[in-house]
Symmetry: D2
Subunit: 146 residues, 4 copies
């Protein structure tokens, strides 16, 4: 298990924030947001971070190197449920950059109340899914920026 | 609107049947299966029909012609809701084959009770998404088989 | 088939617009947005319309009457595919209001190019899924507002 | 982090197996099954395990106690991608039962090749989402059964 990042509960430890409005389609019969939607929320936040940082994921994927960021590990701790129509702040920090992998930590809050923390581990892969060297711009995204 | 097929409520008008067990992840806060899952149910039934007929979709897609069946139109009429853990019989019939398109009719039942009817209209496209000639085997799949 | 609304290709025939950013999770192996995501896009636009109009769906559902808007029929015509990271304008108009049902028309565009049109037919139901009288505020939402 | 179970790579360490056929709707533009579908696969395997063991989740939820099994933590390690039309064997074992929680380990294989391992941590909750005593039958499901 490479997953080593411990996601902080303090928003100031995160560098980016992206807002996701939950959908009714994402609720389940328990009346809450089904946990199966969290991968999409986290991924949307990563894509927004790349876009705002000037490295849109579509360009990264379509570039000379044709790099994808495969998900190697995925971890979520649910602390309080999300509900329909919640505006969720997804706080994001990139850490633990190596030559081929990086880790992303997440703190999900609604009106400043913690709902979940999460970690994803990613590897750079080429168009055929083989491990590839990490693009240089990942260094710029790493850390809390303080 | 090319959609012309009127899906029958009589199971004997359908040639194939495929069973789908609904998932808890597919329920919503109304306690029923969310309507957004029907595209996946119908598609799973089409893939099963192709597999049983000896034309697995993966081989069709990977073949010399690299044909995909793009969804041009999609229609569902919900008659009674599906619920979690229902074993849904998806009855399928292919009709209205033209040089570039075909239509598929569906009847969804649970323990012989009608829950929904549906129609999809498909076009053959090549790997770049351009209209392509319909594969010859589609003729074999067409009609109720009686 | 109650579905009678013919969705216009002219944006000025629609009263509301809501923007949806497509997710990578919503792509498929054809490299486009899978058609199974359209129900969620249309529903998100309806929820935004209700929120902006002062009738949040959560309040409608939780109110004295506990009204839900069940989806009775669902139709989409796909004209050109959506791709990852597209910012989709979902134009919405409510029409054909009856005592128990209404229809919603949709025009989906990306940078003013038409991608799809759609229609949904809805019925007001109470907490047990039985048909219910339409809330009075639906009258305010109906029509193009011109 | 309560998550303590280390999922084995040896199928004989698992008590149940459930087969899931991947859907085309679950692929992404990388041509593989999107990682966001794994929560639904694991949940489907848990539901099948309960059904086969004589404790259908729907009855558990609807019973006097109205117990739900909330997902507290969720971890997946992706070792090799799944592809469209793969028949995935989801091997399941329940471990680490406490008064209010249990952990489930998973091994996902396709034709005996390991694709992923996973762990979920669950808590028994009542109809209002409050922690509840674990149903007695969970003891019967625990362990590898050897």
């Amino acid at each position: 298990m490479r997953l080593s990042l411990k996601p902080s509960l303090d928003r100031s430890d995160y560098r980016y924030v992206h807002y996701v409005r939950t959908r009714f389609a994402e609720t389940d019969a328990m009346g809450i947001i089904h946990h199966g939607n969290f991968p999409a929320y986290l991924e949307e936040a990563r894509a927004a971070m790349l876009r705002e940082s000037g490295f849109p994921y579509e360009e990264v994927r379509a570039g000379d190197d044709g790099i994808d960021f495969a998900v190697l590990e995925f971890y979520v701790r649910h602390r309080r449920p999300l509900r329909f129509d919640d505006l969720v702040a997804v706080h994001v920090v990139v850490e633990d950059l190596t030559r081929t992998t990086f880790q992303v930590g997440y703190l999900l809050t609604v009106e400043d109340e913690v709902r979940a923390t999460a970690v994803t581990v990613h590897g750079a892969v080429d168009g055929r899914g083989r491990p590839s060297r990490m693009p240089a711009f990942m260094t710029d995204l790493t850390g809390s920026g303080h």
